[in-house]
Symmetry: C2
């Protein structure tokens, strides 16, 4: 059985997933991802012990366990390459959508493949690599928007954070104007976050 193509975003109630203002990048990132940093499943993947074992940690653990390959935008890769260091947290094949050819890069348990043929091809190659597990479109916002617009996702996980930010990068820009019906798959109330899992 082929896996699904899944994406997930931490998002404010008013639909923002980040900010284009570099002075505000860190506080916005911290506010949107605060719910995850203290979870046991997240800490474990970062090589840290301890953390909270709750429903949110269970969902994150499930996300890791069911993912066989990742797709990343170039900006997210460029941004992460240095801070991830020698042990990036993916621990799986990662397909980076980019215009620049680059040789495959192995770091710890993660292998980065650079795909210059576009998003659809990157997802196709990730599907092959993932086998019967899922492909996880990890971001940034632009790659997730393109995936929604092109109808490439099977599931979208919104980790809705209880704050109104009032401005920033809107996940819902540029997803096309054709109505897309979703089916509510699961709703889970975590601590400081509401997990809204939709299927297309």
């Amino acid at each position: 059985m082929a896996g699904k193509v899944v994406s997930a975003m931490s998002i404010s109630v008013d639909g923002y997933v980040g900010t284009p203002d570099m002075d505000q990048w860190m506080p916005v990132h911290e506010r949107l991802h605060r719910w995850v940093f203290d979870l046991a499943a997240w800490r474990s993947r970062q090589g840290m012990e301890g953390g909270r074992e709750d429903v949110s940690s269970g969902l994150v653990a499930e996300e890791f366990a069911t993912t066989g390959a990742y797709v990343l935008g170039r900006n997210m890769f460029d941004f992460g390459e240095e801070p991830w260091g020698d042990e990036p947290p993916y621990e799986a094949p990662v397909f980076v959508v980019t215009n620049r050819e680059r040789e495959t890069l192995v770091k710890g348990k993660t292998t980065f493949h650079f795909v210059t043929g576009g998003l659809e091809l990157a997802i196709e190659r990730a599907k092959e690599a993932a086998g019967d597990r899922n492909v996880f479109v990890s971001g940034g916002a632009s790659i997730v928007q393109q995936s929604i617009k092109a109808g490439l996702l099977d599931e979208l996980h919104l980790h809705q954070v209880p704050v109104l930010l009032g401005e920033g990068i809107r996940l819902w820009d540029g997803i096309g104007t054709q109505w897309k019906e979703l089916a509510p798959a699961r709703v889970t109330l975590g601590e400081g976050v509401t997990h809204l899992y939709y299927t297309f």
Copy 2:
């Protein structure tokens, strides 16, 4: 004990609550409110029998039962005055925010008061009329946005409908750029709708 100031909106996953395009008004309105039309509590308030008795109907019944007065924008009143007929569904005092003076209007169990002193005054007068019950800021979008921006709401009920519309009137425009922290109060999965109740 004074009641709370509550607002509620039917909203798509991508944050739209309507459309400025009059040709699309009816299909968008129907899609966003489809979840409510068949509920027993809704039908009963429109003078109809039958309908579904489920968790969503329970929440709508609760909304009616706990509301002592309503606040409406002028556009919503102008738009509704004719279709509501002689028995508007509010069955309570309604305070309409408007620039045009007009005498108090009694229709069935509903009394419309026209307030020219602005939104805050309308909410103040509605609070007095509601006693220990809640004031319900019923819409349209502009009056809800103004209420959020001015910090006048205690609770916001989002009836999130599982569709991406891609364009329309965004509830989250014009609510100010200062971060507003919310507390998730209740999450309820209904049929074709997810009820997200937040408190400020």
